[in-house]
Symmetry: C2
Subunit: 268 residues, 2 copies
Amino acid sequence: MRIGFLQLRPKFGAVKQNVRKAVSLLSRVSDAVIVLPELFNTGYLFRNADELASLAEKVPGGYTTSEMKKVAKCNNLHIIFGIAQKAKKKYFNSAAYVSPKGKVSVYQKVHLFDREKLFFTRGKSLKIISIGEAKFGIFICFDWSFPEVARVLMLQGAQVLCHPSNLILPYGQDAMKMRCIENGVFAITANRIGTERRGTMSLTFTGGSQIVDPRGEVLVSAGDRSESLKVVEIDIERANDKNITSNNNIVEDRVPVLYSCIARKKIR
Amino acid sequence: MRIGFLQLRPKFGAVKQNVRKAVSLLSRVSDAVIVLPELFNTGYLFRNADELASLAEKVPGGYTTSEMKKVAKCNNLHIIFGIAQKAKKKYFNSAAYVSPKGKVSVYQKVHLFDREKLFFTRGKSLKIISIGEAKFGIFICFDWSFPEVARVLMLQGAQVLCHPSNLILPYGQDAMKMRCIENGVFAITANRIGTERRGTMSLTFTGGSQIVDPRGEVLVSAGDRSESLKVVEIDIERANDKNITSNNNIVEDRVPVLYSCIARKKIR
């Protein structure tokens, strides 16, 4: 199975330009699962809710998803991309999935970061998509910070974590190596690069997109300076082997009866 | 509050020699919480159950715990140390805690590593000890690999993770930085050094004992070549601040209703 990431430098608000650039780069690859950054088509730093409303799109039905479906079909790609989603009167920081056959599904970010809470509605469920026999768990950027997310996805069968990101803190990439080790899965982090200046706000994104294997080894990565499309061949069966010594298994060694407070609304 | 670790190079089976060495080093420090490695008094590589039975001790009551109580009292130390514990006809890979006033309590390792499963009984509960107003969560070595352990201890109030270890894999130290970041707590990893050769078996331990702060910064660490006692002053209040942006809180942002399968015995 071929999996990859497309690291991009979106221009805020220039949706058509951002999508055209992504489609142009995606046209160079075929027969693969490719992850794009969070909010790749709009940029990240919305100044207010009106600005978000003017840029958000329906999924499916909107311009970005339609263009992604076209290139997915032409090049036999499975594409997972970050998008500001309009759904009725709500707005979600979402990751959409499009298949070569035109199937579309959506994950709505559960753990919103900082100012995202001002404009976006929190998602209400985690998401696994099936591609053939393989299962891909999707989460977005700051979701990495909650070990429960990757754990739940793995326990529900995910073999690869897809992680569209706009990382600005220095922790995310290392954290994903740990998520792979502790869960015995692959992970694709697609981060963006560049600095966004919007009024008095400014953010610089850390790039460093990467694909990590179930032992925490980085199979391929990008720097923080250029847009970059990278694809690797993986043996997805490696994510099914949860044995880490002849006596230890990542899943079977768990003692769920001791973990109950993790799932409890009131801890104490 | 002063917290520290004592990194040691135990000699297999030489309990009195190992304990005397530890006491001698501990005598140089006072008014602190100090963590020692896993199984610091016996060494690690038991060849069989009989060998373990001949070296395991009662807690309290055994030689090692009695000696630790003496130095704890003399130097106003709170000491957490790894020990092979005999309890009725069972044997546990335990971490004992002794206070300056002679209080003793015990954590029995829950997630046993590799050949430990051949001789040791698995513990049945996690453990938090109170030192004044501060709360210390205890786990041993390979317990790091289960993100649930640190998470549960934090949710139950632990501000510092005490981590007696015999680490041989290269992941543990980096993992503990992540456990600190994702839980907003301090961690003390006390690892051992040296190579143990027992019959055809051989293991080399990685040292690198460290104290990490709630942002994942290493406050102090040891190499892998020498025995080492290090103590730092911490502001334990830092572990109570779970805000990581003006809009994000490590505890309040959790969505337990989505994490239920972590606590379920049967996942699917």
